[in-house]
């Protein structure tokens, strides 16, 4: 057997292993995005500014704190007069970014960033 054939054989074996194995692996990050987005919207419905400030990205929270003394004060001042029932639909995501769209609406979405190992809200029509 020549070296080339040996290398080919080893390569094929590795390729087979790589393809066959790991069938049970499933990425649950999409569920995490949905959990955080739901908590974010539920907090608006419950007028829970602390939870909203907890799940948004730290730079956003700092910006809000700079404008109103604390992040919670800023968020409380922007609560809508009545809560809106929202159902999520399409999810676009990469390793570190996600956009969870409101069902049936191509423009409204909650944008999220994975910071360290937690998904945090970076963008939403609710944040003003």
């Amino acid at each position: 057997m020549t070296y080339a054939r040996k290398l080919l054989a080893v390569g094929s074996a590795l390729l087979l292993c790589g393809t066959v194995c790991a069938c049970g692996y499933e990425d649950d990050n999409p569920q995490a995005v949905r959990v955080v987005a739901r908590a974010f919207l539920d907090a608006y419905a419950a007028r829970d500014a602390a939870t909203i400030c907890r799940v948004i990205t730290p730079p956003l929270a700092t910006t809000f704190a700079a404008s109103a003394g604390t992040c919670e004060h800023h968020i409380a001042a922007t609560f809508p007069s009545r809560a809106e029932a929202v159902t999520f639909g399409r999810l676009e995501m990469s390793e570190e970014h996600a956009r969870l769209y409101v069902r049936g609406e191509p423009i409204r979405f909650i944008g999220m960033i994975k910071l360290a190992s937690l998904w945090r809200v970076s963008e939403s029509w609710m944040l003003r």
């Binding site: 790991a22 692996y25 955080v36 907890r54 360290a116 998904w119």
Partner: protein
């Protein structure tokens, strides 16, 4: 075969050296729970270092964490020693080659960098083996196959730790000069071999990708190098905080002079024969160039490769190739005393290692004195250079051998100096924790597997501990990446909860905590603390690891599902 055992014995080296260091645990964690870590923490540059994580994953999968660790170290140490022996045999006798392998095993820089899970455990042996295999192909036979294998090994070293790339300028500078001196045909041959080496490195990359696919399923191949490229791009930002003024470490870090003195030894002992185009001179020049590249790199690019011991210890590769060349020259001058010279070399290094490592307090006092008194240090360096000079120039064999003993003993002593900067204050930077290291390593594996079995992105299990003592194992779950609730910069006892910790506990995806403590009272105090912030904690699992020295409990926070 027995050289690593000899090294471990004379250095009194703990087989695992993980508890005093944080970074080593990242690679243990990725190796033990690759799919979990990538899903939760993503493609950090730690994950890109597949030539470190995959061997950990494979050896642990086959034999369990501790046995897998030990067998992997045996294979690496014996394999590297074997290849170095074959390389040295190209230009010297089997006794000199075997002595060279033993001296490498007795080098604390080398043993320390292999005996943990930080990337250097692959990077350093692969650098030495890669260069050794390269030099096996400088004869007409097997030129291409040795180049491919060498490229694969050097590639493995560079994938494990990009700093290992410093071997390339050293190796290829020496080889280019040698080829230019031989003529056009040699230059073409060198280019062909360099391309073959590149092919070897690519093959390792493909094998690594397929290995990761076996654990993760399909993923973009760019994930395997993107974070490393970002890491290299931000080199200045990352390296700058570790930089220390040369004026300080030149005076206070005697350990940095070990490889420099070996380089002095090469020049002094080999003299003009260094300029010949022989296998020995090429190997010796490579050894010289390798340490020189480190110093050049330190002063031309923002880096801390000399003052940080875990980076600078890579220069063990210099001693690996230099000492057989030096001994070959000295033995050649008095062939009748070959065994005496070699025995003297072994006794000098082994004796110095044993002496320093056995009487820790006296050694530390001497090292502290040297660190705070630059002139005695300077005198010691001059004495060492003089010994090298005497071993090369004096005609009387007795004096020459005595000078060699002094030279090697002084190099060994200096190499064992504890690092003053980001060090643990231990000779050779070996762990002071003894057998607790083995228990800690097993506990870290058990902890990682427990977390991996319950921790999901939408229902996280976060660690809660003080990061001190045995709880340092929690670095395997990346507490600095929200793998834990504690502030890694200023961890506090778990009897209290800081506002930042409460924020993480109340985060929507946090459903459980894994508490680690060496005290059951402290562990029990966590439940009332959680109740005080409005949670309804319920202990799911509790027990002890590390032979009963570390208690743990998985606590469900009782949040509505």
């Amino acid at each position: 075969m027995l050289a690593p055992l000899l090294g471990v014995l004379v250095l009194r080296a703990p087989l695992i050296n993980a508890l005093p260091n944080n970074d080593t645990w990242f690679y243990s964690g990725y190796g033990w729970a690759l799919a979990h870590h990538i899903e939760i923490f993503g493609w950090f540059y730690y994950a890109d270092r597949f030539t470190a994580t995959l061997p950990i994953a494979l050896s642990t999968g086959a034999l369990g964490p501790v046995a897998g660790y030990l067998v992997l170290r045996c294979l690496l140490l014996v394999g590297t020693g074997g290849v170095l022996y074959i390389c040295a045999r190209r230009f010297t006798s089997r006794f000199v080659a075997a002595t060279g392998v033993c001296l490498l095993a007795m080098n604390p820089f080398y043993m320390r960098l292999v005996l943990w899970d930080y990337t250097t455990f692959i990077a350093l042996p692969c650098t030495i083996a890669g260069a050794a295999v390269w030099y096996l192909g400088t004869r007409r036979t097997a030129m291409l196959i040795t180049a491919i294998v060498s490229g694969a090994l050097l590639g493995a070293a560079i994938y494990a730790n990009p700093l290992s790339g410093l071997v390339l300028p050293a190796l290829f500078a020496v080889e280019t000069v040698a080829a230019c001196r031989e003529g056009r045909r040699a230059v073409v041959l060198l280019l062909t071999r360099a391309l073959a080496a590149l092919l070897g490195a690519l093959l390792v990359f493909v094998a690594g990708y397929l290995g990761y696919r076996a654990y993760l399923g399909s993923f973009p191949i760019a994930n395997m190098y993107k974070a490393t490229l970002d890491f290299l791009r931000s080199n200045n930002q990352l390296a700058a905080p570790f930089q220390h003024p040369p004026g300080v470490w030149l005076k206070t870090e005697p350990r940095i002079y070990g490889p420099v003195l070996v380089c002095v030894g090469i020049v002094v002992v080999l003299g003009r024969s260094l300029l010949q185009n022989t296998p020995r001179s090429r190997v010796a020049l490579f050894a010289l160039a390798y340490t020189a590249v480190f110093w050049l790199y330190r002063f031309t690019i923002t880096s801390s490769v000399i003052e940080t011991w875990w980076a600078y210890s890579m220069t063990a590769a210099t001693s690996a190739f230099a000492l057989p060349a030096i001994l070959d020259e000295l033995v050649g001058r008095s062939r009748s005393r070959e065994r005496l010279v070699l025995a003297a070399a072994l006794v000098a290094t082994g004796g110095a290692d044993l002496l320093v490592r056995s009487d820790h307090n006296i050694a530390l006092s001497v090292f502290n004195y040297l660190r705070t008194h630059p002139y005695p240090l300077l005198l010691l360096l001059i004495a060492c250079c003089s010994a090298a000079l005497a071993s090369a120039l004096v005609r009387r064999a007795g004096i020459r051998i005595t000078a060699l003993v002094a030279f090697l003993a002084l190099v060994a002593v200096l190499t064992l100096t504890p690092a003053g900067y980001v060090g643990t204050g231990q000779t050779g930077e070996f762990s002071p924790y003894g057998e607790a290291e083995v228990d800690g390593y097993q506990a870290a594996y058990d902890m990682t597997r427990l977390i991996a079995s319950r921790d999901r992105p939408q229902s996280r299990v976060l660690l809660w501990d003080s990061l001190y003592g045995l709880a340092a194992i929690s670095w395997a779950n990346l507490p600095h990446q929200d793998g834990g609730i504690e502030n890694v910069e200023a961890p506090i006892a778990i009897t209290q909860l800081t506002p930042a910790e409460i924020e993480l506990l109340l985060y929507p995806t946090t459903t459980r905590v894994l508490v680690l403590s060496q005290s059951t009272t402290e562990l029990a105090s966590t439940v009332p603390s959680l109740r005080r912030i409005g949670l309804r904690p319920r202990i799911e699992v509790a027990g002890a690891w590390a032979d009963g020295a570390l208690y743990y409990a998985v606590i469900d926070l009782g949040k509505p599902k």
